[in-house]
Every structure is written in C-alpha cells, then in structure tokens.
C-alpha cells in the first residue's frame, strides 16, 4: 500500500522524468525489502516449519517436518502458567513504568520548557543507564536486592520482611527489574509527545471551567495518547518476551519463570526445537493480537 502510493504518485503527473524518479525510488527500496525477506520472512517461515516438526523415528535428537500442529496444544497445556505469568508481569511492568515515567516526562517536557538546558540534562539522566550493559545493571540490582544487601537487611530490621523472606527470586524482583529496565523506553516517547503539547489548548480548557484534574483527563491525557501508546508498546512487547530479568541467574527464581525462559531452556537445554518454536510463534501471535486490539481501542490511529 505504502509502496504503491510512493511509487505511483510521481508517475501520476505523467512526465517521463518523474516516471524515472519513481523507478529510482523503487530501486532504493530494494535493499530494505531484501533485508526484510532475508532476515525476517525467511527465519519466520523456518520457525513456523520447525514448530510443526516431530521427533525423528530413526535418528535420536533429530526432528522431521510432519505438520504436527499438536505441538501448539502441548506447549499451551504444559506452559500455560508461564505464558499467563509473562503477560501478567509485562502488563504490571508496563503500568508501573508508565506511572513512574509520565510525571517525569511531563516535568521534563512541559514544566521545564523554558529551560532547555535543564531539559537536556534531565534527558541525559534518563538515557544514561543505557550506556551501561543491560546485563550488568540487572546483576547490580541482584546484588542490591540480595539477602545480604542493605535493602533486605533494613526491611528485615523493620520487620517488614520475615526472617525467611527474600526479594531476589520472587515475582516482585522480576517485575521490579522489568520496570526499571524499560523506563527509558517509556519515558522518551512520552517526552517527545508532551514536549509538543500545545499549552494554549490547556489554557483554553482552564478558561472553559475545567478544573486541573478535568483538564488533565479531557485534554492533556488524550493529547498524550500517541506517546503513551508508543511507550507502552516499547515496554510491553520486549517485557513479555524478556528472559534476563526472570532468569534465576538474575532476579528470578523457579516460581517466577516467564515464557522467554521456557523458550530458552527448550532451545538450548532440552533441545526440544519444535516446542521452543511453537512457543515463540505463540508469543508473537499473542502480542500481535493484543497490540492490534490495544491500538484500535486507544483510538490513536489518526493521532499517530
């Protein structure tokens, strides 16, 4: 659609020079299309094929394509707990990241609008954690939240945590880690939207009898929907498939395993490729459906 529109509009003027321009545009598109075919479509087809394989009857450890769609039923039955938990954790992390980032982005993008230098400084602070490896930062949190760390000892001293309680290895630590790691991805799109928020419209709302809360609900929030939608998508999609935070080597434990960990273990430990592939396809399809539904419901098609 976009391709035909792009290539077709110059040709519509009818001059041959412009027609050649349209052909050049097509030529320029070839690397991108080739890239998508080679590195997206081909692996995707391969993954779908793998997900329909069953163990070879002759050679141990080998799998043959048998259109074995029962793989899907099997993984859903076996890992429903982890699948549901993944989406629950991802939703929680997205909500927490949004609640944390919105006031921050509003402060940077609106309150500090008259001081661009402060704005840049705060933005650098938001992005700064990304300069350090994601793994290192998550490991650092493991240290901070460990049983010997000051957080746990303080909470235990205050009797907010029982003597046998932990933070690492629990769902709380995993959701915390996901929230923390995705805050910059939530914050930046929110900032770009709020930075462009027309304050004259906010003034008009105040002039038309809307209290600050009503102004936020009826004007500021709807106008920041593009940022909210992109921020939540940038957080929710990777969080749902994340396997680092929930891994027992990092913040997770056996009771907080997510679908990413299951896929990893099926691929690399159990060498059950069809199950891992089926889970991957399932994850992707579910995210696609959820996201499509979400974007439609949030009514931001014409704002995006």
């Amino acid at each position: 659609m976009a391709l035909t529109a792009f290539a077709g509009s110059p040709a519509a003027t009818g001059s041959s020079g412009v027609r050649r321009g349209g052909r050049i545009a097509l030529l320029l598109l070839i690397p991108g299309i080739a890239y998508l075919l080679l590195f997206f479509l081909a692996p995707l087809i391969s993954l779908v094929m793998t997900s329909l394989q069953s163990p070879s009857e002759t050679v141990f450890g080998q799998y043959d394509f048998t259109f074995n769609w029962a793989n899907y039923l099997q993984v859903v039955g076996q890992y429903s707990e982890q699948i549901l938990r993944s989406f629950l954790y991802a939703v929680l992390a997205t909500v927490f990241a949004l609640l944390f980032s919105y006031p921050l982005a509003y402060f940077i993008g609106v309150t500090m609008r008259r001081w661009p230098l402060v704005q840049s400084l705060l933005l650098i602070l938001v992005v700064a954690p990304l300069f350090i490896s994601f793994l290192l930062r998550t490991l650092a949190w493991k240290q901070i939240l460990s049983d010997e760390g000051f957080v746990v000892t303080t909470l235990k001293a205050l009797s907010l945590l029982g003597p046998q309680d932990h933070i690492t290895g629990t769902g709380i630590a995993v959701v915390f880690g996901l929230t923390y790691n995705f805050i910059p991805f939530m914050c930046l799109p929110l900032y770009t939207t709020l930075e462009r928020l027309d304050l004259r419209v906010v003034e008009a709302s105040r002039d038309l009898y809307a209290t600050p809360f009503t102004t936020f609900r009826t004007v500021i929030l709807p106008l920041s929907m593009p940022g909210i939608v992109s921020g939540t998508l940038l957080t929710f999609i990777p969080a749902a498939g994340d396997y680092v935070n929930a891994s027992s080597q990092f913040l997770g434990g056996t009771s907080s395993t997510m679908i990413g960990n299951v896929i990893q273990s099926n691929f690399l430990v159990q060498l059950n490729y069809p199950a891992a592939a089926a889970l991957s396809i399932l994850l992707m399809a579910t995210i696609l459906v959820l996201v499509g539904f979400y974007v439609r419901r949030s009514g931001t098609e014409d704002l995006l």
Partner: protein, 387 residues
C-alpha cells in the same frame, strides 16, 4: 460561579492599579479601568502594547504583579481561571484538536453541568453558520472556520464577561462584517459585557461603545469612538486612531475661547476647551478630512486657519476620497483627504496650494511639541502599520 446556570446579564469589570511585570520588562503599568456592565469595550493598541496581557490577567491566565481585578464587584484577583465567570476567544483559536467541532463547543457547557449541551452547542454553531461541520475535527477546517468555532465555543457559555483577543483577524472582509454584526447582536441581546482586544482601529470604532487606546503598557485615552477621534489627547492617539496633521509651535496670544500658535509664520487658532496645554510650546493638530484645499491664497477670515503655500507632492485616488500630500515649508508634509465631489483630482502634483480649516476642528495635544511630537507620531504610524 453557580453550576448549571447561564449568567443572566453582563458583569462590570474593574481593574485597580494593575501592573504586570515579566522578567526584563513591564507589560502593563498601573492600569485603572472600569468597564460598565453590558457594554462593548475595545482595547486598541499596536502589538506589544500590553493589551493581550491585560486580557489574560482578566481571564486569570496571568497573575498581576500588583493591583486588584474585580468582576461584578467580586474580587477575582486570586480566583482560578476555571472559577471566573469569563470566557476567552483566543487569538490562536486554541481548539481542542482531538475533539469534534461539536465537542469543542459543548466543552464549557459540560464542565458546568448545563442541560442539553449538544442542542445548545448546535445552536451556537448555527449562529456562526458552521453547524454542517459539527462532526469535523478542527484540523479539517480553514482558519476562518476555526476562528468561528472558537467564537461559538466561548459565546455558547453566555459568560458575564466575554474576552475577545483579535477574534476576527483571520476572516475575510465580508465574513468579518457579518461576524461583527453577529457579535454586536449577541452582546446587546443578552446584555453581556464584551472586552475586545484589537489593533484594527476601524473594527474598534465600528463595534465598541467605548474604546481605550493603549500604548507601552498604559492607557492613553478612553472614550466613545467619535469622542476620541474628534478630540485626541496625545500624539499617539491622534495617529493610531486614524491620521492627523500635527504642528508644533509656541503660544503667542490667548484670547477668549481660543489661543493662537505661531506655526511657520502663520497664526493658528485652537479652541481652549479642545486643548490639553494652552501655554508655552504646544502641539496642535487637525484631521486630514477637515482640511480644505485652495489654489489661491485665501483672504483672512474669522474662524478659519490657513497654512501655506505648499506644493502637492502626491495625489492618490481611493474611490470615495482622494488623498493629497502637501509639502509646506517649515511645517512638513500635510495630509488632506478630499471627498471626490467632482470628477477626478482637483490639483496635480507640483501645484501650489493652501490648506484651510475651521478653528473649531483643531485640537491641542498633551505632548511636548515639534521633535518629540513628530517622533511619537511616526512611532504610532509605524507600529500601526506593523500591528
């Protein structure tokens, strides 16, 4: 303000010693102003004179550095904008881009819990002839249409005080005239108080009961349009509201009812009751349309001032009238508007002419004469053109 109720009539507006300072400059200086309830009040001035800031202070969108603001006798200086019985038609329209035209107009009604918001919004849209576009988003409208929606969105609330910030700027002449009439109708029908900010002197004069001419954060003169026009008190007003011929000179004689000023060797008489200063160095003036062009030196006549001879430097025909520019030695350029009573211009450029006017048409300004008066006149002319 009471929920669910329209204002029954306009409220008066009172500014007492209002000053607004921004970092680095003062936008409004010591403003004292009373707008009686139910009147159409125009705040006229060049851009940057503080008129929009004054409006924002009344709306509550800015806080005054000093002074009090009273609406209908109630001190609203510390009242939040959403609690003031005031609505604004913003210069930038400031329509809600995510709402339909209808929802924009119904916004204020919904916030105040007024019954039948949709029906009332449709009625307001019919008033500005945009009801057929009720379901469009503001981005799908032209500038003029957006301005009319902004107008409907404010008027539909029937506020005791309606503030209009250059509300007709984006409209073409025909629609502008029509909206001016509509605004006047709404205003007189409901008896609302309108405060209209504009740099268009013609709009201010045709619409307003009272005009305040503002310059550099101060009001220079307030009065009925014809009153200000016929008797400006400062050089700024004399040139911002229409055009004036200003002459500097020294008072040479003072008789009963009029005093004489020496201007380029001629004695110009000005009525004492039409002058701000009657001694020393003064600036006196007369409107260009009050001048009469003669091609022979007129005989001295009681009650008539004469200036000249001068040379016509430019003649421009504008349909109803012709404008002549006459260079009078030691006086400068004198502008004359002459009604086209005969076919074509009376004189050609280069002709030697005299100008005469009746003594009672002259006025004396408060400004110091000559250099400063001319400077101010020039400044007013320039800012009037820019604005």
């Amino acid at each position: 303000m009471a929920r669910g109720l329209f204002a029954e009539s306009g409220a008066d507006l009172k500014l007492v010693g209002v000053r607004k300072q921004f970092p680095g400059y003062t936008a409004v200086e010591e403003l004292d102003l009373t707008v009686p309830a139910g009147t159409f009040f125009a705040l006229l001035g060049p851009s940057g004179c503080g008129k929009t800031t004054t409006l924002r202070l009344v709306a509550g969108l800015e806080e005054p550095t000093a002074g009090r603001i009273l609406i209908g006798g109630t001190d609203v200086t510390d009242t939040k904008p959403y609690r003031r019985p005031v609505n604004t038609v913003f210069q930038s329209y400031a329509l809600f881009p995510h709402m339909t035209v209808l929802e924009n107009v119904a916004f204020g009604l919904r916030r105040r819990g007024i019954g039948d918001p949709v029906e009332k919004a449709h009625a307001a849209l019919r008033l500005v002839e945009l009801d057929h576009l009720a379901d469009r988003k503001p981005a799908q409208l032209s500038g003029g249409q957006q301005q009319r929606v902004a107008l409907a969105r404010a008027v539909v609330n029937r506020p005791a005080l309606l503030l209009l910030d250059e509300p007709l700027g984006a409209l073409d002449l025909k629609l502008r005239r029509q909206m001016q009439l509509e605004l006047k109708n709404i205003q007189s029908e409901v008896g609302l108080t309108f405060v209209h900010v504009t740099h268009d002197q013609e709009e201010a004069m045709t619409m307003a009961d009272t005009v305040a001419v503002m310059n550099r954060g101060r009001i220079e003169q307030i009065g009925a349009p014809e009153e200000i026009y016929e008797l400006p008190r400062t050089a700024f007003v004399a040139n911002f509201l229409g055009q004036s011929n200003l002459f500097g000179g020294t008072v040479a004689e003072s008789g009963s009812g009029a005093f004489g000023v020496d201007v380029a060797g001629r004695r110009i008489l000005v009525p004492i009751d039409r002058a701000q200063r009657t001694t020393g160095a003064v600036t006196v003036g007369v409107r260009p349309e009050k001048l009469l062009l003669v091609t022979e030196e007129p005989a001295p006549m009681a009650g008539v001032n004469v200036l000249g001879p001068g040379r016509v430097t430019d003649v421009s025909f504008s349909g109803v009238s012709t404008q002549y520019l006459i260079d009078v030695p030691h006086v400068g350029t004198v502008i004359v508007f002459a009604q086209n009573l005969v076919f074509g211009p009376v004189v050609e450029p280069g002709a030697e002419v005299w100008v005469t006017w009746r003594v009672e048409h002259g006025f004396g300004l408060a400004d110091a004469p000559a250099a400063s008066a001319l400077e101010q006149a020039h400044e007013a002319l320039v800012s009037g053109v820019e604005g």
